[in-house]
């Protein structure tokens, strides 16, 4: 016995999508075919889960996987710089693959392709940004900073600071101090 079927691809697609998205248990909106919008940003785990759910039906997320990974790398590096206890124990080449589940070679080439810098250099930029904050807002000495961030010495922090900013930490501090004095006197006059 044979049956002949009539069907609408759009309806099938929409129903499939709805079923899978409901499994995910996050608020969403289907903006016409081929575009879904989440009312809040999805965690990396949820994105992974959704990718798997949809792949069963041959549906692929064309979001830009690359930008997403780059963002996750940046988040991981920021975390690493802030959490000084972990930084002392981790090398970028061990920390990132563990955290993100991709090989270091892959992460490193993907990162350089889309950011105009390397992973190692980005870490240095972030760290020096942290050093600046510690100098300006937390009023720490260079030795304290070196210790906190796991640098081998003051000289090492200084040299890296100079390399990234072209200024010594002392000159940098002086400029920022004078700038804020200027602003205050400007407001008062």
């Amino acid at each position: 016995m044979k049956f002949y079927l009539k069907y609408d691809m759009d309806v099938i697609f929409r129903k499939t999508l709805e079923q899978q998205l409901n499994n995910l248990q996050v608020a969403y909106k289907i903006n016409g075919l081929g575009e879904i919008e989440f009312l809040q940003s999805l965690s990396a785990e949820k994105v992974k889960e959704l990718t798997v759910l949809l792949s069963v039906y041959g549906i692929e997320i064309i979001n830009d996987h690359k930008s997403e990974i780059v963002q996750r790398i940046k988040d991981a590096i920021s975390e690493m710089v802030l959490d000084t206890s972990s930084e002392k124990n981790h090398k970028l080449s061990e920390y990132l693959p563990n955290k993100l589940g991709y090989s270091y070679t892959y992460l490193s080439s993907l990162f350089s392709e889309s950011t105009y810098t390397s992973l190692e250099n980005f870490l240095i930029i972030k760290r020096i940004d942290r050093v600046k904050q510690m100098l300006v807002h937390e009023k720490l000495t260079l030795s304290q900073i070196a210790f906190e961030l796991g640098y081998s010495s003051n000289a090492h922090v200084s040299a890296q600071f100079k390399k990234i900013t072209g200024l010594t930490p002392t000159v940098f501090q002086k400029i920022i101090k004078k700038r804020s004095e200027n602003k205050t006197s400007f407001k008062q006059s």
């Binding site: 105009y116 810098t117 930029i125 940004d129 900013t165 200024l167 700038r179």
Partner: protein, 148 residues
């Protein structure tokens, strides 16, 4: 923070220098968009137009007629809406005092103008790359200082 292309303005009165800069930027492998202006006043007139989209980065020559780099810098920094604009001052002066004054007045970058084209290219490339980071990552802009 997604960025497709870095929008750059160059404010320079000398036509030869303007060409050098433009050629250097064109040769750097980065997605950029460049607008050229002959002096500070021309640039201010342009960006003060209502609804004008702002560049990410402006290069200001220090010595220009009508409105020089420092005057232009001061006018830009007096306005809240330009706070995310990176300002690069360039000059042949390498006096520490001049450089500090420029930074105190709110410049982010001070470039000692190189004479050699390849040197210029590498300096500009460094400036563009760090600006890309400031516009795509969470870095503190109020502490953004670079001397090259």
């Amino acid at each position: 923070m997604y960025l497709d292309r870095l929008h750059i303005a160059l404010v320079e009165d000398d036509e030869d220098d303007r060409m050098f800069f433009k050629d250097a930027i064109d040769e750097i492998q980065m997605k950029t968009n460049l607008l050229l202006f002959g002096n500070g006043q021309e640039f201010l007139d342009h960006i003060l137009l209502p609804g004008q989209s702002l560049p990410h980065l402006v290069f200001l020559d220090l010595n220009m007629p009508i409105k020089n780099g420092i005057e232009c810098l001061e006018e830009l920094r007096a306005q809240e809406r330009f706070k995310n604009l990176s300002i690069a001052i360039y000059s042949t002066s390498s006096s520490d005092q001049d450089i500090e004054d420029t930074f105190i007045k709110g410049a982010n970058i001070y470039i000692n103008k190189p004479n050699d084209f390849n040197k210029l290219k590498s300096v500009i490339s460094e400036v563009l790359k760090i600006n890309w980071q400031y516009h795509t990552s969470n870095l503190s802009r109020e502490n953004f200082l670079l001397r090259v």
